[in-house]
């Protein structure tokens, strides 16, 4: 038995997808003007007036990569906290202690990350 409401959300998403994609296709094929002979300048990448040189996908902001890693981990933490938050009235101390320890253990890497971020040569 599937939870109630799931079917409706799928119908709704399906309807929105079909109508949006339908509108997009309709507009492309019918309304928007098409240029039969586009000049190369028209389809070139935009670089404020100068001719784009070099790869388009440059200048990675690599120094913020650790933030993405932390996001993955703390996303999981947040989901576990959701499971805990559901039930705090009936859980009492037995249920809250593991979560408190869980949080404390996971605050340590966060503190380390922030300590690292204080010094600009790190990231």
């Amino acid at each position: 038995m599937v939870a109630q409401g799931i079917a409706e959300i799928f119908y709704y998403l399906g309807f929105v997808t079909v109508s949006t994609v339908g509108v997009v296709i309709l507009l492309f094929l019918i309304i928007s003007p098409r240029d039969p002979k586009p000049t190369p300048e028209k389809r070139a990448a935009f670089e404020s007036g100068q001719i784009a040189v070099g790869r388009g996908r440059t200048r990675f902001i690599i120094q913020y990569y650790p933030y993405l890693l932390m996001f993955v981990v703390y996303d999981v933490v947040a989901m576990f906290l959701f499971a805990w938050a559901l039930n705090i009235r009936s859980l009492g101390f037995n249920g809250t202690l593991p979560v408190a320890v869980f949080l404390v253990v996971l605050m340590v890497p966060l503190a380390y990350a922030l300590h690292l971020s204080k010094r600009p040569e790190n990231w």
């Binding site: 690599i62 996303d75 959701f82 996971l106």
Partner: protein, 164 residues
């Protein structure tokens, strides 16, 4: 109706996973992986585990796929190696893996998982939360240690690379 939905989700999961491995452009492969995870989330929904499905979507697709995409984009204008050639050894590997999965599937469907019984849609989530925290509290702490180690390790690596 649920059979049809199951077939659809299973189909999407498997096909997207195959595309994820075979795609020549790695970005397409990573996005196919995301679609495969969507299929898995759909299967969770069919199993009446909507919370796990939400967990799956937000962690796997929202975080892991993003990380994979970022890394793939970082590595370069990647066209992959092209489609694999068929080798004798890979046939052997395919047979072995099918046997292993068949055994695992048989085991999973004939024995019961330990734990509390389900109690219907109203109190299922409460039960999930209690089981997770009270029954498996120690495992939760171990998980916390593993995650913390992963983060500290990643931070140390990122720091060491900038050292020069």
């Amino acid at each position: 109706m649920t059979d049809l939905a199951f077939l659809a989700f299973a189909f999407v999961t498997v096909i997207a996973a195959i595309l994820a491995i075979e795609a020549r452009d790695l970005v397409y492969g990573a996005v196919s992986l995301g679609v495969s995870f969507l299929g898995v989330a759909g299967l969770f929904i069919l199993l009446d585990a909507s919370y796990v499905a939400a967990f799956q979507i937000s962690v796997y697709i929202g975080a892991v796929v993003v990380l994979i995409l970022f890394t793939v984009m970082l590595v370069g204008p990647a066209k992959g190696d092209g489609p694999m050639e068929f080798k004798k050894a890979s046939l052997f590997g395919a047979v072995l893996i099918s046997l292993m999965l068949g055994m695992a599937g048989t085991l999973a469907t004939t024995t019961a998982f330990p734990g509390r019984e389900v109690c219907g849609s109203g109190c299922d989530l409460q039960l999930l939360s209690t089981t997770l925290l009270v029954d498996y509290g120690i495992q939760l702490e171990l998980l916390a240690l593993v995650l913390a180690a992963a983060v500290i390790g990643a931070l140390t690596l990122a720091k060491a690379e900038k050292k020069e």
